[in-house]
Amino acid sequence: MAEATESSSSQTLTLKRAGRLRAERLIAERQRLKQTLTLKIVKRESDESSSSQTAEEEFKKLNVKEGEDSNKSSRKDGEKSKKLSKKEEEEATRIEVRTVDDVTLVDVHGENFSDVVQVDSVSSHLLGQILSYFAEQTRLAGEEDDLKKYEEEFVAALSLDEMKEMIITAHRLRMRKLVLLLSRSIANGIRNKTVEFVREFFGVVNDYTPDEEEAYRKENDWVFENIEEN
């Protein structure tokens, strides 16, 4: 284990010095370690305590490793570490147990880690937002107007990109209500945007030839208004 830690921390150096094979092996190991950071989603019926403990233990183990690595890895600027370094500057959060629909989020009591709790590569900030959404949901359950008002304020405070990040996570965590709310908001958000903006936003590559695109545009010219650049 210690070896792994050391090797991964000197990853950048390895990349330069050692052969490509060795570097790849180290990265793969790092990925494997990262995989066990995934938040466990457990069904309501199953034994909460035991499963939460397992996850907790794993988290603890990993967080220890992460803690050691963080200082060194934060200095990395290699492309391969992009996924990791993006998060590594953020702080760990406490995730409390919530019972939402059929999903029980597992309790992770983080100690004071200076780096991120990676939950499927979700930023802790985002997770915090999601959790506060659910906190409000349970608090205001039954009061339709207040709930609606909260939802409106909630989405108004989010940027389009934030909504996009959130919907992916919400979908993965099977949070139906949040997905519906976000899809409505994103649909509204992309309404008056150019096609180019939409492509970039969704990370889609245009596979139409300019001719094809022009032909389609001409045919449907009667319905395309001058959409503002945004």
């Binding site: 990109d161 096609v195 139409y208 449907n220 010219d221």
Partner: protein, 414 residues
């Protein structure tokens, strides 16, 4: 801006796209081929129909000769910009180019448009199409070609079922004025001012059901006092409506019942001949009257009680005062009526009135009190501005199902 490394899940994409209105989805088809495929797919259309409301997209305008039998081929689409403050809308003439021949538009209902071949024709057909996806169905012309009656009115009745997600069935109703033999009580009273037989002028209805793929005559008739029928049948709440003189002729398609509803205000109340049109707003029939007293909009509350409620009224002076850049001396012009009406309401939908004032067309949003110039008469490239046919159109993505009885489906290049 952070770039998302993950590709958005297909499910999430459907969730988002199914909440985008039809108009925007059409331009989103250009994003990439995959998106085009997804947006055209029945599953997305089904979801989208259930989750979004139809919004007024534009007005179809086609001029008509009054005396000449020939049809004017140009069909204009006056695109309505959603936020009327943005001003300029657009007029296009190529909307129905995907059809195999020039057509005359007969009806518009929930995105579908019904048209017929232009006269003079060799072999005429009826088309029911959706300009958004360029799909159409062609129907045989069931009536005699030699005795073609130009004043025939044909309306489209189409309800879509979001759970089906495609055009499953629609109905066409042909309206004619015919002399119907009526059994009269032989009391000898002078009903014989009519020329010859004891026939009464009545409206008759022929129905086409796409399900059955055939036409049949309805037993229902309705007495006609005026032959003039504006061929702009509106389908609202299961009932077709036509303007008949000042009255409104209604026909309940399912139950085959007709009613002739009197105008909200009798014509005699006005000094100058008023102009009117009917339209749908908030799922109800509205009646627009333009006279020297101003623009008045009525809403039909009750069909059987002939209960009209006024929902909007603005005098010509007020209109002139609010928009002096567009109008001047309205009242006098309306009273004088030199070469036809000065202000002519053409169509009304969802609170937006398309009206012709002198040489321009304006979109009057009565709910938000906004007036925009839509275009000039010249933009319409039409040879006649008298008595055009105008339909409101709301874009919908409904595709035709592959199997339609008695007709064949054709898809344009896409």
């Amino acid at each position: 801006m952070k770039r998302v490394d993950r590709i958005l899940n297909h499910d999430i994409l459907i969730e988002i796209l199914s909440r985008v209105p039809a108009k925007e989805l059409m331009s989103l088809k250009r994003v990439c081929k995959e998106w085009h495929r997804v947006i055209s797919s029945h599953s997305l259309v089904k979801a989208q129909l259930g989750r979004t409301k139809l919004v007024l997209t534009g007005f179809i305008f086609q001029a008509k000769f009054i005396w000449c039998n020939e049809d004017i081929k140009t069909v204009n689409y006056i695109y309505v910009v959603e936020e009327t403050t943005k001003g300029v809308s657009k007029v296009s003439q190529n909307v129905f180019d995907f059809l195999p021949e020039d057509v005359v538009v007969l009806a518009s209902c929930r995105g579908l448009v019904c048209c017929r071949s232009c006269f003079p024709f060799g072999k005429p057909f009826i088309y029911v199409c959706n300009p958004s996806n360029r799909e159409w169905v062609k129907l045989e012309w069931p009536w005699s070609v030699s005795h073609y009656d130009r004043s025939m009115a044909l309306a489209l009745a189409f309800d879509f079922d979001p759970s089906k997600g495609f055009v499953e069935r629609f109905k066409l109703v042909r309206l004619r004025v015919e002399e119907v033999q009526v059994e009269m009580d032989e009391e000898g009273e002078g009903e014989e001012e009519e020329e010859e037989e004891e026939g009464e002028l009545c409206f008759t209805f022929d129905l086409y059901s796409s399900e059955k793929g055939s036409w049949r005559k309805s037993n229902e008739t309705c007495q006609s006092y005026c032959k003039l029928v504006n061929n702009e049948g509106l389908y609202i709440g299961g009932v077709l409506h036509w303007l008949n003189g000042g009255r409104v002729l209604t026909f309940d398609v399912e139950n085959e019942l007709s009613l002739l509803i009197p105008a909200p205000v009798p014509v005699s109340e006005f000094m100058a001949v008023p102009e009117f049109c009917i339209g749908e707003s908030e799922g109800r029939l509205h009646y627009v009257v333009v006279s020297e007293q101003g623009v008045h909009v009525w809403c039909l509350e009750d069909y059987y009680e002939y209960n009209w409620t006024i929902v909007f009224c603005k005098s010509l002076e007020e209109i002139e005062g609010t928009w002096p850049q567009f109008f001047m001396n309205l009242k006098n012009h309306v009273l004088e009526r030199v070469n036809g009406p000065w202000v002519n309401p053409l169509a009304f939908k969802d609170g937006v009135l398309l009206m012709n004032v002198c040489v321009n067309l304006y979109l009057f949003d009565i709910k938000n009190n906004k007036m925009v110039q839509a275009c000039t008469n010249q933009d319409l490239k039409s040879q006649s501005m008298v008595n055009p046919i105008v339909f409101a159109h709301s874009l919908s993505l409904v595709p035709f199902s592959a199997a339609e009885k008695g007709a064949f489906v054709s898809h344009g290049l896409n």
